[in-house]
């Protein structure tokens, strides 16, 4: 063995050992059942999970959301870091919700990508992430002010001949005619009422510091369900910024003691403000408004120095109370966000995909391996050895760089198997040609490698070019495909050119070889 041969051997052995060492955490992690993983120390488990190959959402199941931050109503100064603040708040919410390994990233100008692996309750998660959660405490206008405003709206609408539907009985009182009680509108009349309020120009007769907002859905009054239209002072007395902590609790509403709600504690500053506002407005109603929906509007009986407030309502159950507490603690989003893309993979499809990906990979590899062994005999075995090393290096590189394995990624690996043998086929065919033309075995092997190399280099470069463009453009799964394909190509150059050559040198160096099994 020459010195350079020794160097190559040491190189291959070293790379192989390092690869095995890198893959060890992946093996220990994925060979355990979920129950066994649960039994591990959390710190150790987290460490192991960090080092193991990550599975894409399409394989382990989960939710991927792309949110767009609507900055249209923000001032230039507010808009500047709105997306970054939104990302932080979403991060906090998900943290408190308790999802392992979430990924929250800003994409482009005003988009936030959220990945939640293994999540099953998608509706709840979307609600939690997407809720603006702007909390306002607003004073309700007095009964008299409310009555006057509704009258003005009525006559304004009537003078324009706007009536709900074709009901002529309501020609003079289009709006209040729909109301059962002050402000309360039955469910079946809601669309008509909403249409009336959307009449162009209506805003101009509502005083500047007054605002009409709907109450929570499913309010019940005298045996009927509907919603209330509230007349509020537009400027809030306090906002969500005054809330220090929020907890889900039962028994906050005296009329409905079994119901869930959220109790809030104020910051010292908020406590002082709350005491001042309640003290100055005893006998009036203070509405608790969440995202422009009035949750409740209790009467202020007395000055409240403790700064305790609560949100209750007909729609709140144990889960929504918990989620509401989370969003109130984490804070409001600086601007509304809208989900513009969602990709969910159920856990059953995820494990099916792993299954079919592994089956296809195994069968594909076996077919290629069998073919190579039959066609090239001992040399075929050398190529198979190179292929196995290639797969080992490929998976180790993925684990090392923290790349994610997706289903298209598995397809990339299977294709790598198909294409990796090409390098060996090129070399072997070339060696055979040289043998046929009557050269010695040594000479044929040397020439075969030398002459095939240029072709191999060009062929790899062009495929690498298309893989790099795939990576550039790729979203999620496609990126996974590009990653495995590119790493596979590089690993292939190493194994096919260096490793197999080394085997031949060793084989032929042992003595006189009469016949090359190729």
């Amino acid at each position: 063995m020459t010195r350079s041969d020794q160097g190559k051997l040491i190189g291959v052995v070293l790379v192989t050992l390092v690869s095995l060492w890198i893959l060890w955490p992946s093996y220990t992690y994925y060979s355990r059942s979920p129950a066994q993983r649960q039994a591990m120390e959390p710190a150790k488990l987290a460490e192991l999970r960090k080092k193991a190959i990550k599975l894409g959402l399409d394989l382990q199941g989960g939710l991927q959301l792309l949110l767009e931050v609507d900055k249209s109503r923000l001032s230039a100064a507010e808009a500047k870091d709105a997306v970054e603040r939104a990302r932080e708040i979403i991060n906090n919410r998900i943290d408190q919700f308790g999802v392992a390994e979430p990924l929250i990233q800003i994409e482009g100008e005003d988009r936030i990508a959220v990945q939640l692996p293994g999540l099953t309750d998608r509706v709840r998660a979307i609600e939690l992430i997407g809720k603006t959660a702007r909390l306002d405490f607003k004073l309700v206008r007095s009964e008299e002010e409310q009555r006057l405003l509704f009258q003005r709206l009525d006559s304004w609408l009537a003078s324009r001949g706007v009536t709900p539907g074709a009901d002529t009985a309501l020609a003079r009182t289009p709006l209040t005619g729909l109301m059962l009680d002050q402000g309360f509108i039955r469910e079946q009349d809601l669309p008509s009422a909403q249409q009336l309020l959307a009449t162009p120009g209506l805003d101009s007769i509502i005083p500047a510091d007054t605002q009409l907002l709907w109450g929570d859905a499913n309010e019940a009054r005298s045996g009927m369900t509907g919603r209330s239209l509230h007349v509020l002072k537009r400027t809030p007395e306090l906002t969500g910024g005054s809330v220090a902590s929020a907890e889900a609790q039962v028994g906050l509403d005296q009329t409905n003691p079994g119901a869930w709600g959220v109790s809030m504690k104020m910051t010292p500053r908020g406590r002082a403000d709350f005491a001042r506002v309640t003290g100055a407005n005893v006998g009036r109603q203070l509405a608790i408004v969440l995202d422009d929906v009035v949750q409740s509007a209790p009467f202020i009986r007395d000055r409240i120095p403790s700064g305790d407030a609560s949100i209750t309502g007909g729609n709140i159950d144990v889960n929504s109370a918990r989620d509401l507490a989370i969003v109130l603690r984490a804070g409001a989003l600086p601007a509304p966000v809208e989900p513009i893309e969602e990709r969910t993979v159920g856990p059953s499809l995820g494990s099916d995909s792993i299954q079919s990906g592994l089956t296809a990979g195994l069968i594909g590899t076996l077919m290629v391996v069998a073919f190579m062994a039959i066609y090239y005999q001992l040399s075929g075995l050398v190529a198979i050895g190179a292929l196995m090393l290639n797969l080992l290096y490929l998976t180790a590189a993925m684990a090392y760089f923290g790349a994610t394995l997706t289903l298209p990624g598995i397809a990339g690996i299977v294709l790598t198997v198909g294409m990796a043998v090409d390098t060996n086929v090129l070399i072997f065919e070339r060696i055979r040609e040289e043998l046929r033309s009557g050269r010695s075995i040594h000479e044929s092997v040397r020439l075969g490698y030398d002459r095939a190399f240029r072709t191999i280099f060009d062929a790899h470069s062009t495929t690498l070019i298309s893989a790099l463009f795939l990576f550039q453009f790729g979203t999620g799964p496609i990126k996974g495909f590009a990653v495995t394909l590119s790493i596979g190509l590089l690993a292939n150059l190493f194994t096919a050119v260096l490793f197999t050559r080394m085997i031949y040198d060793w084989w032929l160096g042992r003595g006189k070889v009469e016949r090359l099994s190729i």
Binding site: V368, Y375, Q377
Partner: protein
Amino acid sequence: MFQLLIGTDIPFMKFRRFAYIASGLLVAATLGWFFTKGPRYSVDFTGGTLLQVRTSQVVPADRLRHALAAEGVEAELQQMTGESLDEYLLRFRTEGDPVDVVQVAVAKHLPGVTVELRRNETVGPKVGRDLREKATWAVLASLGAILIYVGIRYEFKFALGGVAALFHDVLVTLGALMATGREVSLTVIAALLTIAGYSINDTIVVFDRIRERSKALRKEKHSRVMDIAVNETLSRTVITAFTVFLASLALFVWGGDVLRDFSFAMIVGVVFGTYSSVYVASAIALDIWLALDRRKGVAAE
């Protein structure tokens, strides 16, 4: 030694006119279809919702369709085959939450049946537009980059032949996808780009040999040089195509529904990529070569 296709002497170039006609027809048909009817794009590009659901019992597709229609959802419905008769693919657009909409419709009109969500891909119109732009850009840019690479490494006639073969392979694969009613999705675009890489890879191997032989066989006719080179690389071409074909076939048969369109595209691409290395890439290179000779006044073949 176990050998196939060794010592062949097939006069490939003699038949290149037939190949031109066949490939020309295929490409023309694909382009015609592409610009009139257009391929079926997946939700990735059109926006909308693709749901894969599993019902607790097998429900005839028509009943499910009616249940959805009664709730005002016009869904394109596809029942899966084989062991997954209880699974459906639904494509539709809705204002509300798509999963919720389906669950409500089934609960209301198909009592006793429950729905399990297997996959939901909902893409807003804006994102669809973005992805369409990105995909077009990626395909064009990677074809451009390959063109530049081949143009630098090889002479003009080869570069042109290679790129013609590349476009041929990608287009014919697209045609096969359209003809079988398959959707063009993000993963299919990935397959098309992979085919582009494979196609040029295959072509380069043949070209390398032509270049090598044309130095040694200066006295021979160009078409003869090409035939020799193609015949000499034939076993490699076929063996590699065969192994890639085997891998793609495994993905097609066992890789599951999510990868089926992808692996279908790969299979078609591999078959045509192999054919085009000989009959599109080499044949066009040969005709350009001959045309260049004529212009230089060298006696034509």
